[in-house]
Symmetry: C2
Subunit: 456 residues, 2 copies
């Protein structure tokens, strides 16, 4: 691997151009208007996989966004690595808060700004480029399979069926994923736990039309007032979720494990300062790292109703809406939680309104064993480039399909993230540090090297 840094240096402009070509395609999976962009982005990945040296690459249609699959089989008896990533991105809204155009990648102060710069176009492309290096320099000792989906940000709805259908094609010894963060720029980490997710939308209807708030206000239920009361009651004064049986399946984490987790560097004052809040607000009895790592949460992701324009309008609206997510932890089932929420929300609705609960996507939480060979290979790869043993962490985020891979394909995943919290993924001004992008391309080849050398 002596020529690795040199190879990256010599090709870095091209690598960036390839990444930029991906960011320029607004592959927002939640918006129907971007449907043509999904296919365009998938086709672009196919080109990139072929250019990097795959024997074959295909765009597979599904009932949703297409899946891109590419592979290079070097030796039928060698180990096989399945690289998973996603080419879809979150909506860029609120657009007015972006300092650069979200779909025109721009480098400012060593960072690439743009929607998907990190999540997951930037992180996924590192794998294609690390593969390209290994192949072109005749150092690839594992078979490599790439699978890029276009529905990760909306729950990977059609990837489960795709995995069932192409189980044989997707067979691998491990799944490698870069879609997470590291603790900080100098502290590599491997994500060994992910929270799951339940996402729902609720609609509260009061009167059958918008009413004059003077003529009716005080006699007729206001659906915004009622919605606020209903969602306010979902958490109590200890910030615990009040839905009956919500915590039934939550596993108790041992004091030993909590003590281990507490060793990860975390400065609460810096954390608060970075987001400019005076106080945090988590479940009583747990630390902030535990709040996001091992405890479920309830967040309103959006709310709307009535008049929201300029100035004033005195109206008692007909309807109010909210979008909400519950992050869940290992052993909680997203469908069960979704059903519990629905039943509870309907049960607490007063008779003066009608409510409708619409479940969106969900996904299971995931915990990865740290004693498997692939974990050790990842550990050694980080040691090779960072000179430090990575810390195993639990992330509050969700990649529901990871639990799905385990279930359908029977294959564990290694979450090798190179992002930083300051990358602001899902937010305006998402970015990815140039040095992290290149360091990722430099670290991944070592994983193949050590994994290839290990006994099965």
């Amino acid at each position: 691997m002596n020529d690795l840094k040199q190879y990256i240096e010599a090709n870095k402009e091209r690598f960036l151009e390839e990444l930029f070509s991906l960011i320029r395609i607004p592959s927002v999976s939640s918006k129907s208007e971007n449907k043509p962009d999904m296919l365009k982005c998938a086709e672009r990945w196919k080109e990139l996989f072929l250019a990097a040296g795959c024997d074959k690459a295909e765009v597979y249609p599904t009932d949703g966004a297409p899946v891109v699959y590419g592979e290079k089989i070097v030796d039928k008896n060698a180990k096989t690595v399945l690289v998973y990533g996603h080419y879809d991105v979150m909506p860029a809204e609120p657009l007015e808060l972006w300092k650069t155009s979200p779909f025109e990648p721009t480098i400012v102060d060593g960072r690439i700004y743009g929607r998907g710069a990190n999540d997951d176009k930037g992180q996924a492309l590192m794998h294609a480029k690390a593969f390209e290096y290994l192949l072109k320099t005749n150092q690839l000792t594992c078979n490599v399979k790439f699978m890029m989906e276009g529905e990760e940000e909306v729950g990977s709805k059609h990837l489960y069926a795709f995995c069932e259908k192409y189980k044989e094609m997707l067979k691998a010894d491990v799944i490698l994923v870069s879609d997470t963060s590291m603790i900080d720029s100098e502290t590599p980490s491997i994500t060994v736990g992910l929270r799951g997710l339940t996402y729902l939308e609720v609609e509260v209807t009061g009167p059958n039309r918008d009413l004059h708030s003077g003529l009716f206000g005080g006699a007729v239920a206001n659906p915004i007032n009622i919605l606020c009361k209903m969602v306010a009651s979902i958490t109590d004064e200890k910030n615990r979720i009040t839905i009956p049986h919500f915590y039934d399946d939550v596993l108790t984490i041992s004091e030993e494990e909590r003590a281990l987790m507490a060793k990860a560097p975390f400065n609460v004052e810096e954390y608060k300062k970075a987001i400019d809040v005076e106080e945090l607000c988590g479940e009583e009895g747990f630390t902030p790292m535990e709040h996001v790592g091992i405890r479920p949460s309830f967040d309103l992701c959006g709310i709307w109703g009535g008049y929201t324009g300029e100035g004033t309008k005195t109206v008692l609206p007909s309807k109010a809406f909210a979008k909400l997510s519950m992050r869940i932890v290992p052993n909680q089932d997203p469908d069960k939680i979704s059903a519990l929420f629905k039943a509870h929300f309907e049960s607490i609705a007063p008779k003066c309104v009608k409510v409708e609960v619409r479940p969106h996507h969900g996904g299971n939480a995931y915990v990865s064993p740290i004693d498997m060979p692939a974990y050790k290979a990842a550990e050694k790869a980080f040691e090779a480039t960072y000179g430090k043993t990575p810390i195993p962490t639990r992330s509050g985020g969700s990649i529901p399909i990871i639990a799905g891979f385990d279930k359908i394909l029977g294959t564990k995943s290694i979450l090798l993230g190179f992002g930083l919290e300051s990358d602001a993924i899902h937010s305006p001004n998402e970015s990815y540090r140039l040095d992290h992008f290149f360091k990722g391309i430099e670290t991944i080849p070592y994983f193949y090297k050590y994994f290839g050398e290990m006994k099965a």
Copy 2:
């Protein structure tokens, strides 16, 4: 008045064309984009007043929307009636719920559909047309002054100063206003009480930027969650407002007066059916008519925050907003209530968020005496055209300037409304019944006749 019906019949097409020309001008006072339309609408009223026979009519600029004033002095010793109306309208949003274009008046099944068809272009024009009839047939026995403002829907902010400045010009024995409703098509009523209003906007800020709801959810306060909890706590389980000292100035209504109010025809089942709700939701211990007539209320007129687009976005947003109105009753002071709300809302904000409370317009409640000559004249006018004595009612709506007229000009108002609740003012598909429009033009001349005959 033998030729009155004939005059209306002969001129009805022209009357409608005149009304349509007003509705076509989108004079939405709360939107800065409609500023040119305000002047255009004021100029149109000036033309109409001159055409109807005013000696003079002028558009007076103010620091806000202009005021139109017109007058006809028939005899310096005769009684003077000041007609007040407003040419501004509420925003038409939500546009998608309109069945016809809001600013293109359309007649369907005996109703004129359009924003302002009733409130207040339709009701105000009746006065200009009744005046035209009296003048052209030499039956006008009172001096008439017209004052049309363009900021009623946003609190009449600049009309107070206008009244102060032109106190002498606006001198009158009574103010006549058609901007309210009658009980039903066959039951005329005169509004003798109006609620006042306090309108505010609140902004709750959590983290300084939108965050990933997985990576931060559970540890960091979500401003939507917090906003909902805060506004939910403003009313209790008895639907009473919890702001300390909120009810201090509310006058207790005697059991006798409540018994009188209860005589107005009101069918709770029909009321619920008309707005399609299974149950009402008002303050414990009061009837629906009392809820809107004599008790204060708290309504969220709008709420927004986070992702409100299609599909899903898992975000812990930085900000959440709400617009809210409190209807107040006689003896409550809007500024005092606004200050009480602000202090209370700030006091209940947890340290994990920042809140900002922005007061908008407000206005006092009003009660009109029913023993003054002008009330008796209005009563007789309704008897002449409906054959029934009108019922004195209290409306839940607010026309804050009415209390202002009393204070600044020392002149009482008579609220001679011809609207119906089914006209859906402030809502999509606002309409005004053709028969009500013409019946108003027929009734108003009798008011002048009887009022002119009365001793001062």
